[in-house]
């Protein structure tokens, strides 16, 4: 599968400053009943985004429905974003909607891994930094875009390029995102090591290999 590489990105930022935004909220189970990865963007945040359950009429007070945030490609959120269910449908829905990066004070760990494998960049910043960014952004969302430089591990408001913030990411995850790599192909390069592990382990734990 080809994954869109992530190097630099500048985009409109939508603040959704709640804690514990779970994957059921990102995509309710009723919206993920399909066997492909396509067509999930419509169900993104369905319960908050539409006026009626199962409907498609926009709920005007939801941030992604407001004109100021048209074309948003970056989300700002509180702690534990993506907690709960392991459903990767949440990430596929975000990507199809056009989200490229999520800045939050922490992430659910399964969700984080799912992001990295789909070209969606999770950026952990501390809560105070997230709030500060949100304050700036709401003044003029279309002008206060954020520029992210993944190879340099930095981000800044496009209008205030001097206010650079750095963020952490594991080297392997960064490489996967920057190069849009297929994780399976990478692991299969180590097939000999896996074979060797199995050969030795079969002697020690034969009951695992029935």
């Amino acid at each position: 599968m080809s994954i869109t590489p992530f190097t630099q990105h500048t985009g409109v930022v939508a603040p959704l400053l709640r804690d514990n935004i779970d994957t059921d909220a990102i995509i309710p189970s009723r919206e993920m009943k399909r066997v492909s990865k396509q067509g999930l963007g419509e169900g993104l945040f369905a319960a908050w985004r539409y006026t009626l359950p199962g409907g498609r009429e926009p709920q005007s007070d939801f941030v992604l429905n407001q004109g100021d945030y048209t074309g948003a490609s970056i989300l700002l959120a509180g702690q534990n974003f993506g907690c709960g269910s392991s459903r990767e449908h949440a990430v596929w829905a975000l990507r199809e909607f056009g989200i490229r990066a999520i800045i939050a004070s922490s992430f659910g760990s399964i969700f984080y891994n799912n992001c990295v494998r789909n070209g969606l960049l999770p950026i952990p910043l501390d809560a105070a930094q997230v709030e500060l960014l949100a304050e700036r952004v709401v003044r003029d969302p279309q002008q206060q875009r954020i520029t992210i430089d993944l190879p340099a591990q930095t981000l800044a408001l496009a209008a205030e390029p001097e206010g650079i913030l750095s963020f952490d990411i594991r080297e392997g995850d960064k490489q996967m995102l920057v190069e849009g790599l297929d994780g399976i192909a990478l692991t299969l390069k180590h097939a000999e090591a896996i074979d060797a592990f199995e050969a030795q382990d079969k002697q020690q734990r034969p009951w695992v290999y029935l």
């Binding site: 309710p28 399909r34 269910s85 990767e88 399976i184 299969l188 382990d201």
Partner: protein, 475 residues
């Protein structure tokens, strides 16, 4: 140097290769699959022309979408009314056949919720690494296994390579000392822990549950506890191997036998943290202090003892928490200061991978025996976790007790836990639920979930509202 924790040992036993950036290639012993998170993984294999690395490491069972109504269920896959549910279950069947993977299908008596079936079949064994495209895979840690949920890309990765790229977590010991009071169960312990450390409290950690209370729990109770590790933010939770574990595993279908059993037991006896092991963090709860728990909000950390009152946002200083509380009260239709015991139970759900094992059903049956479900309760479901649990319960006459009390006795599956099948809450309905998540809309659009133990759910069914099962006597 400090001794190893159980997690350290499990990690080292499966380490294929350590990488420079701190990540590692970890070998996966057991991969469980279900119909919701696997179709895109099989499709990925197909597109790349790949085959499963080791077929016998995989075991599949449909659970999320299967109907629990006996009449609908009798028709097998073809009889599933919802076309998309049918498509997902059929796709699992097709993929398992195409890739030669063992599947316990919808018509098999062993079918059930993947986290009930795995241990029940002995497909999950102590010392194994166990993964599944479902966050409640942490359940299997109860057997002294390293078990956690994964996304669909990782499902594909495990199918193709039998490995995962992982970073080692920090060690968190949650110790529950002392004893539990009557009427207090593993579910109450799990909720009390989440109330204590919060839904992000375990983020970045592997949890080991220990202490006298945990040692005293049955395997079913330990599974309930480990199941909800993810609700505390930890991908995995585990319990050291002891005689309770070995007694549970002995004789199960996929468990080793004869000489190999003895060899396995010798290895499994080492699956505990060393006395001088150092944990990065330790949380201690006192068993006697834990009361039956009820969640009042839309996150599992929004939980109170049964004698509590709904919190008042005005008393909360932190603005984010205050806003979250206000939001939750509106969604849940509750008022600040309201007693938990004043909350009605419009529906009751006894089931899910958290609480659908035989011990859970026995506890619920003991409460409802000889009583009747309150007239105000619209629907009360009992959904056994597997066909074998159902058989056992029927052999013990539990089904009769439930039916005579006015509860419905259903076919095994995930049921009302997640609103993917026909069992759902309607808008505004309060549910006494033995499941694991009280998120907005989790059990149905606008549904209001209150997480409780099976005994508490049963007592709510009889009373029509939440009551303290430990002191409760029906008037």
């Amino acid at each position: 140097m400090a001794g190893k924790t159980l997690y350290d040992k499990l990690w080292e036993n499966h380490l294929v290769e350590q990488r420079e950036d701190g990540s590692a290639l970890i070998y996966i012993d057991r991969h469980l699959l279900h119909e919701v998170t696997s179709p895109q993984a099989f499709e990925g294999l197909r597109l790349a022309g790949r085959q499963p690395w080791r077929r016998d490491a995989n075991l599949a069972v449909p659970d999320h979408n299967v109907p629990t109504d006996s009449a609908e269920r009798a028709g097998g896959v073809a009889g599933i009314a919802d076309p998309v549910s049918k498509l997902q279950v059929q796709t699992l069947d097709d993929n398992c056949e195409a890739f030669d993977i063992v599947e316990i299908d919808i018509n098999d008596v062993r079918q059930g919720i993947v986290h009930v079936v795995g241990p029940e079949q002995g497909a999950t064994l102590p010392g194994m690494t166990v993964v599944c495209g479902d966050s409640h895979t942490s359940t299997h840690g109860a057997l002294g296994a390293l078990a956690h949920g994964i996304g669909t890309s990782e499902v594909e990765h495990v199918l193709a390579t039998q490995c995962l790229v992982q970073t080692k977590m920090k060690n968190l010991l949650v110790r529950v000392d002392g004893k539990l009071l009557p009427g207090v169960t593993a579910k109450d312990v799990a909720l009390a822990i989440i109330g204590e450390i919060g839904t992000a409290g375990g983020t970045g950690y592997a949890i080991e549950f220990g202490g006298e209370v945990v040692r005293g729990l049955s395997m079913e109770g330990r599974m309930t506890l480990c199941n909800m590790s993810i609700e505390a933010g930890a991908r995995m939770g585990m319990v050291a191997v002891d005689d309770v574990t070995l007694d549970y595993v002995r004789g199960r279908t996929y468990a080793p036998q004869g000489e190999q059993w003895d060899q396995a037991v010798a290895a499994w006896r080492d699956l505990h943290s060393e006395e001088d092991a150092v944990f990065d963090q330790v949380v201690v709860l006192q068993g006697e202090a834990i009361r039956p728990q009820v969640t009042w909000g839309t996150s599992p950390e929004m939980v109170l003892p049964i004698d509590g009152t709904v919190p008042d946002p005005a008393q909360i200083d932190d603005p984010t928490r205050r806003a979250a509380t206000e939001r939750a009260l509106v969604y849940m239709g509750l008022k600040a200061g309201q007693s938990i015991t004043d909350i009605p139970a419009d529906k009751v759900f006894i089931g899910s991978c958290t609480n659908s094992r035989i011990e859970d059903l026995r506890a619920a049956a003991a409460v409802v025996k000889g009583r009747k479900v309150a007239a105000s309760v619209k629907e009360a479901l009992v959904v056994p976790g597997s066909g074998l649990v159902k058989q056992q319960a029927e052999a013990e006459g539990l089904d009769r007790i439930f039916i005579e009390a006015g509860l419905q006795w259903r076919e095994p599956g995930c049921s009302m836990c997640l609103a993917m099948n026909a069992d759902k809450l309607g808008p505004g309905e309060h549910c006494a639920s033995t499941s694991n998540r009280n998120f907005e809309g989790r059990q149905g659009i606008g549904g209001r979930t209150h997480l409780v133990s099976p005994a508490m759910a049963a007592a709510a069914a009889i009373s029509g509202h939440f009551v303290d099962v430990s002191t409760w006597e029906e008037a």
